[in-house]
């Protein structure tokens, strides 16, 4: 759980870096973005890594659900008034934030990732020629500039993801036995900064298209 989580944490940073090329951060950002998409779609090392990544997702999700079910069973009959203990808010509801992110992930797969893989057709209205990964930039632009609701769902998902990460970042270290009076406050701070960077960083793209 923790290892797969840490792996996904690293992956998110890579994903975020690539995403930022959607924005006009340099002159030929759209070409760079499409080139990366093309590289990602064709390079065999990346393709192999994709399988590892999917395994990471699956382990994290399936294991998380199994743990949660075991934990519900472990309680047995519940309390009438339960959990009034003061703890960090999100840590109590981590499974729900996880499930929300899972729904978002499925949506995200269908409207971007599977299109890149060629499993799903790009929306006809977007008029994207084949192969899609060459024109991935246009698909992203089409997606975010035509449907406000869509952008809002993405932004909400990133906020939930940020909250999820804020608890789980330090949690992964604790699970791996890395809790130390000297370093843990630092790890917690890094976790919070990381979560904010992820939530804001990913949201910038849909926000940019809302306001342009």
């Amino acid at each position: 759980m923790a290892l797969a989580g840490l792996f996904l944490i690293v992956f998110l940073l890579v994903h975020l870096t690539i995403n930022l090329f959607i924005l006009p951060i340099c002159e030929n950002h759209d070409e760079i973005f499409s080139a990366i998409a093309h590289f990602m779609g064709t390079n065999s090392i990346v393709k192999t890594f994709e399988i590892v990544l999917m395994a990471g997702f699956l382990i994290h999700i399936i294991y998380g659900i199994i743990l949660q079910i075991q934990n519900w069973i472990a309680r047995g009959k519940g309390y009438k008034i339960a959990n009034k203990t003061k703890t960090s808010f999100m840590s109590k509801y981590i499974i729900y934030s996880g499930l929300l992110i899972l729904f978002f992930l499925i949506l995200h797969f269908f409207d971007l990732y599977f299109i890149k893989l060629g499993l799903v057709e790009a929306p006809a209205a977007a008029n994207i020629p084949h192969p899609h990964e060459e024109h991935f930039y246009d698909i992203v632009v089409y997606l975010f500039s035509n449907n406000l609701l869509y952008s809002i769902i993405y932004i909400i998902a990133f906020i939930v993801l940020g909250i999820h990460l804020n608890h789980t970042f330090q949690s992964a270290f604790q699970t791996l036995g890395l809790n130390h009076s000297k370093y843990t406050p630092f790890i917690k701070a890094v976790g919070t900064i990381y979560s904010i960077v992820i939530a804001i960083g990913f949201s910038i793209v849909p926000l940019y298209f809302i306001f342009n």
Binding site: L67, R75, G76, K77, K92, S181
Partner: protein, 246 residues
Amino acid sequence: MKIKLKIWRQKNAKAKGKFVNYTLDDVSPEMSFLEMLDALNSKLILQDDEPVAFEHDCREGICGCCGLYINGRPHGPGEKTTTCELHMRSFKDGQTIVIEPWRAKAFPVIKDLIADRNAFDKIIIAGGFVSVNAGSAPEANSILIKKKNADEAFDSAACIGCGACVAACKNASAMLFISAKISQLTLLNQGKVEAMERVQAMVAKMDELGFGNCTNTYACEAECPKGIKVTNIARMNREFIAAKVS
């Protein structure tokens, strides 16, 4: 002060059980929580009713018997206190107090507010001891122990095994308890020898008995009447991983 009580009543382990309401009119704020329950029971006995069964022994916070889940918190309001150390001044006049037994599959309720915490003993029997020859007193004095380790071992040994960690945890996980027992042994030279076997045996027993998994909510640390720290859980995880890969 006047107190309204909503108490879990259950005849025996098999019975279904339900909440029953009681009212006490003349509760003094100086009374301890258990004295308040004593007062209720005296009243019930005079009325020819069955008194409420609850566990208690030392009534001074050292035996770990008296755990009750009060208004959504193990050992009720207040920091680092057991139920027997709780006083009625912590409640308001006219307040309703909901009293439940510990809830965990591994701690079955046997009567009213008494949960069977035998599972803890089973975990200790699985590995919570030192079986190497630890020597006699003079030999023990010749074994040098870092002050920091001695302090930490002592802090972990303060665990009274009340089960509040399991009761507080949303996953009914016993990891704070087990990690405290592991720490008090593993931090000292005599206990270190069997550290790898111990952690595996105790964790296996914990899983077998149906306790939940730790998801690092840290409710256990917040509710522990003895202030046992979750750094112990990290130490246990560390030892567990080391034992598994070595």
